[in-house]
Symmetry: C2
Subunit: 386 residues, 2 copies
Amino acid sequence: MKPLEGLKVLDLTRVLAGPFCGMVLADLGADVFKVESPKGDDARGNGPFANGESTYFMSLNRGKRSIILDFKNEKHKKVFLDMVKQADVLIENYRPGTMEKLELGYENVLKKVNPRLIYCAISGFGQTGPYRTRAAYDIIVQAMSGIMSVTGAKGGEPTRIGSSIGDITAGLYGVISIEAAMAAREKTGKGQYIDIGMLDCLVSVLENAIVRYFSTGVSPAPLGNRHPVATPFDAFNTKKGKVVIGIQNNSLWERFCKVIDAEDLFKDERFKDNALRTDNVDALKELLEEKLAVKTSDEWIVPLLEAGIPCGPINDMEAVINDPQIVARKMIIELKGHPIAGDMKFAGNPINFSETKCVVEKPAPALGQHTEEILAAFGIAEADYK
Amino acid sequence: MKPLEGLKVLDLTRVLAGPFCGMVLADLGADVFKVESPKGDDARGNGPFANGESTYFMSLNRGKRSIILDFKNEKHKKVFLDMVKQADVLIENYRPGTMEKLELGYENVLKKVNPRLIYCAISGFGQTGPYRTRAAYDIIVQAMSGIMSVTGAKGGEPTRIGSSIGDITAGLYGVISIEAAMAAREKTGKGQYIDIGMLDCLVSVLENAIVRYFSTGVSPAPLGNRHPVATPFDAFNTKKGKVVIGIQNNSLWERFCKVIDAEDLFKDERFKDNALRTDNVDALKELLEEKLAVKTSDEWIVPLLEAGIPCGPINDMEAVINDPQIVARKMIIELKGHPIAGDMKFAGNPINFSETKCVVEKPAPALGQHTEEILAAFGIAEADYK
């Protein structure tokens, strides 16, 4: 048994934040029905493609089944309301107001059809406030949240995170809020409306930058890869490649100096304790990189780990996929049997349960692949659809 | 009523990933008991400080109550087991094996004391695999996950994200898994063990970089702020400050060119469609920045938004905190009455429920502040503790 087995989720979402939310629910065992317009989720147009199928889409919609519903078609709208009647959860990430325009708003329609429904709306800026109707992409929310302002080379430009964490963080908070609403429903018997904004979610993730601002009155700036108050705690060049090293106290500093043959630095008054090392961080980095230049990154990591120094390589995606830990943790999974794209590899599910195991097995659906099967599952006659 | 009201959580966590998980549970209404050693959570030593109290700690532990338990003291161990008997959830982020060394392992001890207990272990690399005993800090997991390899200036160095998202993503997956295990327990009556690794969680967030690698055979590299396949979709310099703009189709491109007085670029054959604009991205950026140089970022955003062009400023933390949307969404909260630090401001809770509202009210605890109160809540005599 999977933990969310039996949970019926209507997934009306497109592109990224919403689909990621639905995917995690599917990974946890929920039955996720991807409700798509006749054109399909916009992400089906995003490359790269495998036999013409979007790998972008397939990565975010595994384990779901797809039904085509055209909300301009009154028959389909009725089918949809029949599905809502039997559903536990609905997720959408339209711009605020869209469901109301379709006459499918929560307050006036869906709640009346099914008071147990948990309705989760994910949007760029949330359902309230002056920006609520603005379009948001990940880069815009990253920029406006402040996360770009603290990311980048020291003294350099604000930098976008190379993964769409504006969307994904909102997707994760979506799952958290839906499950919490399920726990509340166990007690009250009632569903409710959930409003998640991508901008809010990124601000919550910036908790430390915010307290630093309030403590100092100064907005934190990009620091490169180094730690603001622990030294050495940074990425360093070696003979070949880089190594990240994290040292937070003097006993680790002593051991580290022994391993890299830097007794002179250990005795140096400028580097005697963490505060002094942080004051003299630039000089120290230069001297450490001289010491580290005699071996490659891989050659350093072995003796550093043996001495208990927290360290690691900076992996590219090829190295990640082949990393023995990632392989042992089964974090790259192969999903077999997509009707068009065939067998494909994806990032796996990072949640490991002892009892309710969650092996991901089903690939993403082709557009409308399960329309008849889903109608049957909801006891809706095909004549009511066609 | 809050959604997780009545849920008893023992929070044995330190520093960041685990405390963030416990904080979200507390925000959702759980009763979170922070179990601290006599020295307290290591994060209590992290600056900046307010009246000697760590703002770093206070940002991650709001709404919790603190009890001091010394696991080397047999009386305290017995108190702890009494608490486990009555708890719903336990969270810890020790290195794997630590709880077993304390003779408080899940399988041999805690599960027997309370079969309904949901036990969530968060660690750097997870409880299995060759790296399981390695120490991990956020920077090490960011480096090894590949997220640094896709973040940074174009052609530049791999860059750490300026927020500890290696920790925070694991904290969010911790909440998701605990709530899912609660749903399973509603059916089975049994708790279980959950194993969350920070490295796994960041790999899951890199889903798109992974499919791109498998599709092309090439590891994605830092791209700066621009979108890999949509153009213009980037951060641009203006007369003063930068603006991020996201344009994904030709009708937006046409409207954009009108607003910025760039009919010549709209007619230019090199920029006729998205594919051509992406091929000629460097030339286009230079020409666009010439056009944008006549006004400031703030002056551009008004007419761009009026024309429906997705855009926004790159905010620093000061701008974020004062942003009208962030203010309207109450994403900066003031928590009053910390016994030592007084009133303080923090990032708020991004989850908005229509029924089970979650206003955050209680500040973080001072070390051991609620020891007596917690003993009483669990019906444990003070004589059994002292």
